[in-house]
């Protein structure tokens, strides 16, 4: 969540999930909330039905939540910056901006406002395909509401310009004074249970826990000391991100990889290429619950345990640190992941010894200011939201209340850039990927039992009936979808959720790995691949 961190100094949800009950307007974009975050969707519906909240959906896909929306706009995919700038242009012009708030709490406004001048409704309409009236109505709905909240997810970030998309949403929220207030905020919905925790814990190449940067000497010294190392022992250079690691393997720069609990061989873009990269490794270790597609390529597979067999904590989208508890004994010879890592480390000459997960949390809270007050005892009944600096601190459900974490909120001057790959004569459709509500990520867990497969047994590509008619395709017919990188066959599901010219394929099913088609072009800062926009050709399979 690099964009949000740059604007406000923190990359997490700024407000609690339940806060939407207090919002006057909620802008929902790039998240199919009912499918991916169903509990959040419950609150949105409750907000509409019981509290008079108005929902504004702006999304290329006609998501189910549109049924509850006051207004729905369907822009062309990959034009987010254009419509956000367009809304802000109108908001400033109509005098709906929060002038005082902007003057007091933010910086960078002048350049930013100047740049917006060219985003007239007419210009924006040309890029996005939205009418000027639609843009005006949306600007009014968000701009006049107080407070108004913004929700977004991977539909915004999985573009080559994802970081800029997020910064743009941050601009919009600041412009209307919606940061640091109940019912406001900019709220990214996290896709996986502990994405937030993995980031908080320093599972990133440029930071230690709590976003303490590896390129700051004092920070390195502090960690070196805490970890019993020489003061200059830690690497000062940020490491490789996931999407750079694989190409580095192909080039022979990375010789070995150790993957814990991830299945990039279904989830990563441009799958065929990644297989080559992994094959180039000298040594490959995978630690997982199952023999995943990734584990099959490993030299050594280590059996870890599930969340039901260990103690620990997860952090949800709202930054709340919550407990998981051991409920079952461990199957066979499998071992807790923390024990595997500690033993391996000890064998490599760096001793690690922890009696329990709780002992690790004690160390985390010592080296991480924002976790300083998190103890198992305090979160036994109810989780705590970080920042929570000491054991008397009640946690921080809403961020940036009187100050932004970085001091002042920074306006970014951002221009629309066309997606890396546009539809053209040869590949006339735009493919987008995502989840369906009954399955999860790469399906390693949800597809194991009979239950969830009963509800959603097979992969289907959603295609607009208009396009289907043109291709002579009926519901259930086999489609062949190909991009410049590969091709898959999948059944058609006629649905008016995608606009004409768009096809949607979920990525949970390894037998039809949609990521054989997607584009590995990266956002230059967050390094998220462009999943959401990829040009494809769609034909009836013969």
């Amino acid at each position: 969540m690099a964009g949000l961190a740059a604007t406000f100094g923190s990359g997490a949800m700024t407000n609690p999930i339940k806060d939407v009950l207090k919002s006057e307007t909620v802008l929902v974009t790039g998240t199919n909330t009912t499918e991916n975050h169903p509990i959040f969707a419950n609150y949105l519906k409750e907000a509409v039905l019981k509290h008079g909240t108005k929902i504004l959906v702006i999304d290329p896909r006609r998501i189910d939540l549109v049924d509850y929306a006051e207004l729905y706009l369907q822009p062309k995919p990959g034009t987010d910056i254009a419509w956000i700038n367009g809304l802000m242009h109108i908001i400033i012009k109509e005098g709906w901006a929060a002038q005082e708030y902007v003057a007091e709490r933010c910086e960078g406004y002048e350049d930013f406002a100047k740049n917006l001048e060219k985003y007239t409704p007419e210009y924006v309409s040309g890029i996005t395909g939205l009418s000027e009236d639609e843009l005006y109505a949306a600007a009014k709905l968000y701009g006049q509401a107080s407070p108004a909240s913004i929700l977004y997810a991977m539909g915004i970030t999985q573009h080559s310009c994802g970081t800029d998309n997020v910064k743009s949403l941050g601009n919009l929220a600041m412009l209307c004074g919606n940061m640091g207030v109940e019912g406001g905020g900019v709220n990214p919905l996290r896709g996986q249970n502990n994405v937030q925790g993995a980031c908080d814990m320093g599972g990133l190449p440029n930071v230690y826990t709590g976003y303490q940067k590896v390129d700051i000497p004092e920070v390195r010294e502090k960690f070196a000391k805490a970890w019993g190392l020489e003061a200059d022992a830690l690497d000062a250079n940020p490491g490789l991100v996931l999407t750079e690691m694989f190409p580095a393997a192909a080039e022979g720069k990375v010789k070995a990889m150790y993957i814990m609990g991830e299945n990039p061989l279904v989830s990563d873009p441009d799958l065929t290429h990644i297989e080559h990269c992994v094959e180039a490794l000298d040594f490959f270790v995978v630690q997982d619950l199952f023999m995943t597609e990734t584990a099959k390529m490993a030299d050594v597979v280590l059996p870890g345990v599930s969340f039901a067999e260990k103690d620990g904590t997860f952090v949800n989208s709202e930054r709340v640190v919550q407990r998981i508890r051991k409920a079952l004994t461990i199957p066979g010879e499998a071992r807790e992941d923390r024990e595997i890592i500690a033993e391996l480390s000890t064998r490599m000459g760096y001793e690690m010894k922890y009696e329990s997960a709780e002992a690790i949390m004690q160390e985390i809270s010592q080296v991480t200011p924002s976790y300083g007050g998190i103890t198992y005892e305090r979160i036994a009944e109810k989780g705590l939201a970080w920042p929570c600096p000491d054991t008397d601190h009640p946690g921080t459900p809403i961020l940036h209340v009187s100050n932004f974490s970085r001091g002042k909120g920074l306006f970014f001057t951002i221009d629309h850039q066309p997606p890396a790959e546009n539809a053209d004569a040869e590949y006339p459709f735009i493919l987008t990927t995502g989840r369906v509500h009954s399955h999860f990520h790469t399906g390693t867990m949800t597809r194991k039992g009979e239950g969830l497969n009963k509800v959603h047994p097979e992969i289907k590509a959603e295609i607009n009936p208009e396009d289907a008619a043109r291709l002579g395709v009926e519901d259930g017919d086999l489609l062949s979808i190909s991009s410049r990188r590969g091709s898959i066959e999948v059944k058609a599901w006629l649905s008016d959720r995608p606009a004409a010219g768009l096809v949607f394929v979920p990525f949970h099913f390894h037998e039809v790995a949609v990521n054989r088609l997607t584009n590995a072009v990266l956002d230059p800062v967050a390094k998220i691949p462009e999943y959401k926009v990829c040009a494809v050709k769609v034909e009836k399979a013969v």
Binding site: K45, V285, L289, L344, M348
Partner: protein, 345 residues
């Protein structure tokens, strides 16, 4: 504010409060069956009847708002008789399946029948055969156990905003039916609020008795909402997932993954021993063999090419504690910042 007396106790509550809520605020319990805290009052069961001085007929406490100066009685012979009668009407066609009912032991109907000491039912009614296809294959509907309280229909409408089910037919032929199975999300909200064994989780059928189950509170392992749930464990198997009303961000709700996506835990496909690939085939190995091989290879690569030649991916699926150790291992033991995870994806 409005002041009234309940069983002789003076109570002051805001205007618009129901008598039931007012009684609850001073710890007076009125028996209820259809009432549920997260739902608007339904008023279908008449268990909550109370007497109000000056009114001829008893009123339902869950739907009647307080009024200034009223005197409410929650317990009398007459009220007990009315409650017993209501229960008897429910029991006319109710199969006392308790021994094979998954709800046995924590069924509100069972408890109320016990509390009101009903040992026989004088009424009879012709039995109507009903077929029982529900909105989702994950939930089984037992029409004979259904007391028509409407909690399920109301929850699907009010909490989920979906309305996938409704009531069809009347009298003893009435039953819950799917309006449109296509829109049902199999979330189990209806199952969660059903006070009886009329809705049961099909995956859990006959797999455990409520009083033998261990309920371990934990956090859902799927999405970033972080719902709080309880793993229902018997004989070292997760046989169901339940929630406590009002707990966590989800307040007792879950989605299909959180409620029914637990089968992977006890799956036979789980990896149970370390494996080492030899000549393209995996061979089972001991921990000692596997870990010394990994340590040896990593150390050799580190010695020859430096720590930067090793990359690690930690996991958005694993706990904080594991993520912390993983990055510490990469940084302190391997000596590289090449550590990332799939959050970007």
């Amino acid at each position: 504010m409005v002041t009234l007396t309940i069983d002789g106790k003076e109570v002051t509550v805001p205007q618009g409060t129901t008598i039931l809520e007012a009684a609850k605020s001073v710890d007076i319990r009125i028996p209820t069956l259809c009432y549920h805290e997260r739902l608007n009052p339904i008023g279908s069961c008449r268990m909550c009847v109370v007497e109000i001085d000056g009114f001829g007929h008893p009123m339902a406490a869950c739907t009647t708002p307080v009024e200034d100066g009223i005197e409410v009685t929650t317990n009398s012979d007459r009220l007990t008789r009315i409650r017993q009668d209501s229960l008897k009407l429910i029991l006319v066609n109710h199969p006392l399946d308790c021994p094979i009912c998954d709800k046995g032991g924590e069924c509100l109907l069972q408890d109320l029948v016990y509390e009101h000491g009903i040992d026989k039912v004088e009424y009879t009614a012709a039995k109507v055969d009903r077929d029982s296809l529900y909105a989702t294959p994950l939930i089984r509907y037992w029409p004979d156990r259904c007391i028509m309280c409407l909690r399920c229909v109301t929850a699907c409408q009010e909490i989920k905003g979906i309305g996938a089910i409704s009531i069809e037919g009347d009298g003893y032929g009435a039953q819950v039916v799917a309006v449109d199975p296509e829109i049902c999300q199999s979330c189990g909200e209806c199952l969660q609020v059903c006070p009886t064994g009329a809705l049961t989780a099909d995956l859990s059928r006959y797999r455990g008795r409520t009083w033998l189950i261990d309920r371990v509170p934990t956090t859902c392992t799927y999405c970033g909402c972080g719902c709080q749930l309880e793993l229902n464990v018997q004989n070292n198997q997760v046989i169901a997932v339940t929630t406590k009303d009002g707990v966590g961000v989800n307040q007792g709700s879950l989605c299909v993954k959180g409620r029914f996506g637990y089968e992977f835990i006890n799956s036979d496909d789980r990896l149970k021993t370390p494996m080492i690939k030899q000549n393209g085939e995996f061979q089972e190995a001991s921990w000692d063999e596997a870990l010394s091989l990994v340590a040896e290879k990593f150390s050799a690569i580190k010695a020859e090419h430096g720590g930067g030649a090793i990359g690690g991916l930690t996991s958005a699926r694993c706990s904080n504690e594991e993520n912390y150790l993983f990055q510490k291992f990469m940084r302190a033991a391997i000596g590289t910042n090449n550590v990332d995870h799939c959050a970007r994806l």
